[in-house]
């Protein structure tokens, strides 16, 4: 076969899991198995208190996941997107209602791109506080700088941002806003005067949205023109790329759960899992999941190494993994039959998360369109 000449080949990626990564996975897995079974998540959602802050304390402080991406000099563990991706696989596989992606990945990455955010970063890294980047959860990497919030010369913010994921449990808001000198990032304390929040009803019960109003809210500038835009871009790219690992975790859980159910349930005098039509469909889902794993690892590795290829790897991973997670969840429901339609079985939490994740950080179509520009396949 003729390789095309216009696209740089990549052969140097490590797509496996290191021992350190496997150890981290085990720790997170054990904690979640103990503290966050799907039935417990469902119960929290029914009580309308989805966020499990005790669990988050255990994860962020005891296991140190809050500081994974933070360099040791800032009080973190100096790990990379590869380790964060492993954590997200496990969190996805338990639809854990904790702000790891939003705070420890996205907001932290944004802060790491600011020169004057050392205090905030240290508090996040220690797990003492959580933060959120105030953009709609659906914002794709490469989007224009948000125009919903304006800053005046004194750094006072006015405006509105809708559909901010996990904002309900954030101590600190990292706010992209446009001021007299251009785009900037600002820090706002969650208790600041003039800050208002509406709680829309969210499709994904485990990552609830908040609409935030800024009515002359005092803020601290973190980054100004020249720094704010790349900080925001890197945060969104990292969020999108690592979301693929969460989607992988969702898909793996759905596949495993389906296989287990079909092995246990009998109809027509035989295990349902022995019916060939279902076996073939599950074989296809399995192939998608192992492929999603390669795609998610590729994105994490590219982000970890700061590769110039990261935008391609991220777009590929999102375009591929988002629909894989949705299909895995949809098939899990269908193959559970009636039980899958009941509120009582937790699989709907995974379906809702998978469908919301398909929109989060840009839809697959949006990522394919981005790829067209990145790899020279113009419309």
């Amino acid at each position: 076969m003729t390789p095309a000449r216009t696209v740089v080949p990549r052969t140097d990626q490590d797509l496996l899991y290191s021992e350190v990564e496997q150890d981290l996975r085990s720790s997170v897995h054990d904690l979640l198995a103990d503290r966050c079974p799907p039935a417990a998540v469902l119960a929290r959602c029914e009580d309308r208190t989805p966020h499990d802050l005790a669990l988050w304390r255990a994860l962020s402080r005891d296991l140190g996941v809050a500081g994974l991406l933070v360099p040791p000099a800032h009080g973190g563990h100096g790990a990379t997107a590869r380790e964060a991706a492993v954590v997200l696989e496990e969190l996805g596989a338990s639809v854990a209602p904790v702000p790891f992606l939003t705070s420890a990945v996205v907001a932290t990455t944004a802060l790491l791109g600011c020169s004057g955010a050392a205090d905030e970063i240290a508090r996040l890294a220690s797990g003492a506080a959580t933060a959120v980047l105030t953009v709609p959860l659906s914002t794709a990497p490469g989007s224009a700088f948000p125009q919903g919030v304006r800053a005046d010369a004194a750094g006072v913010l006015t405006g509105r941002v809708t559909s901010v994921g996990d904002a309900g449990c954030a101590d600190l808001l990292v706010v992209p806003a446009t001021g007299p000198r251009g785009p900037g990032l600002y820090a706002v304390h969650a208790g600041a005067r003039g800050l208002g929040a509406d709680l829309p009803v969210s499709l994904d019960l485990t990552r609830p949205l908040v609409d935030i109003h800024f009515d002359r809210v005092a803020a601290r500038p973190l980054a100004g023109p020249g720094a704010a835009e790349p900080a925001l871009a890197t945060a969104l790219l990292t969020g999108a790329g690592l979301l693929a690992s969460e989607q992988l975790g969702i898909a793996q859980w759905c596949l495993d759960t389906t296989v287990r159910h079909l092995g246990e349930r009998s109809q027509f005098g035989r295990p349902v899992g022995s019916f060939q039509a279902l076996k073939h469909r599950l074989a296809d889902r399995w192939l998608e999941v192992v492929s999603a794993r390669a795609a998610a690892r590729s994105a994490a590795d590219a982000l970890a190494s700061g590769s110039t290829d990261a935008p391609v790897a991220v777009a590929v991973a999102q375009a591929y993994c988002a629909p894989v997670a949705v299909r895995a969840a949809e098939e899990c429901l269908q193959l559970h039959g009636g039980i899958g339609m009941t509120w009582e079985h937790p699989l709907h939490l995974f379906l809702k998360r998978a469908k919301a994740d398909e929109v989060a950080f840009g839809t697959p179509g949006r990522h394919r369109a981005a790829l067209a520009g990145l790899v020279g396949l113009p419309a």
């Binding site: 709609p136 559909s163 009803v201 949205l209 039959g337 009636g338 339609m341 929109v359 949006r366």
Partner: protein, 400 residues
Amino acid sequence: MTTTAATAVDADELRGRVSALLAEYDPATVDRLTFLRARFDAGLAWVHYPRGLGGLDAPRALQSVVDAALEAAGAPDNDPRRIGIGLGMAAPTLLRFGTERQRRRFLRPLWTGEEVWCQLFSEPGAGSDLASLGTRAVRDGDAWVVTGQKVWTSSAHTARWAILLARTDPEVPKHQGLTYFVCDMHAPGVEVRPLRQITGEAEFNEVFLNEVRVPDEHRLGEVGDGWRVARTTLMNERVAIGGQALPREGGMIGIVAELWRGRPELRTPALHDRLLRLWVDAEVARLTGERLRQQLATGAPGPEGSGMKLAFARLAQEISGLEVEMLGEEGLRYDDWTLRRPQTVDFTGRGPGYRYLRAKGNSIEGGTSEILRNIIAERVLGLPAEPRTDKDVAWKDLPR
């Protein structure tokens, strides 16, 4: 029963009878129930039913003449969506297998809606393999004592009567040990609990039967013949699917097409081609349904009916999935998770998230898409059955 040879009733005669009914019972002045009872007694309820049981032994196709004339006169109807299970499933089974006494007792209040019916067939352990159900009915004098759990029962909380399938003999193969009953939903031991769905609402119920006494006179068909009786019920369920004629862009595609037209800012080239593909699929499904109805009208139904449910489930799922994705940020929201008890599916009154989630049930309820594919492959295409291991085994010895 007036089983004397039916004189051929034609459309003109029916219009005459409608006029006579309207003359005697003016819908503008008579209360609804009185009118419906009178309509039933005039044989204008379901004209193809026997005389004395709401009908006139007339051709089924003539019902539309009666309905149109009564609608034009502003007469009340029996709210067929509210009593769909009674009309669609219980009534034809009562007509075919009921004793004269049972038919006279049950059909009139069923049709007028005075008594709502529900269906106690499905069980948590018997989904697609309905014949493996385990609810037990044990003979005790001139009654049966029924214990078990049923599920996916719509209208159970409003129903007076249920059609019930229960196991009367576990020692014989599963299809042979079933008996069909009419169960009083007000009897002691019947407990109805709402069954919440992934949409947040509870259209259906679980029904727990704890030593419920069903008099033997409420048995339909012979002891052990329940599967044969149930097949009549289920065939009538399937006939109802495929349903009424739709205009182009009727159904869920219309919602998304209007969204596309009204919200140019949501449009992308990739979504465009997906929308057009689904638009074509929806239009072709509409034509396929229309062709099926035309075949039915000529008295030569084709096998397409088995496929329509499959097609509509897939379409509803793909279209609603596209809608959520197309909406982007708005797709992340839901309208309401409050536990509600709707009588029917509401695809148009609710939001896109509801449509997406509720449509998942379309390929499960009323026969899963997997079972429908089996039926098509074996009954329509004539492909050989899989080896069966459960046909000749006593029910009690089957793996569960």
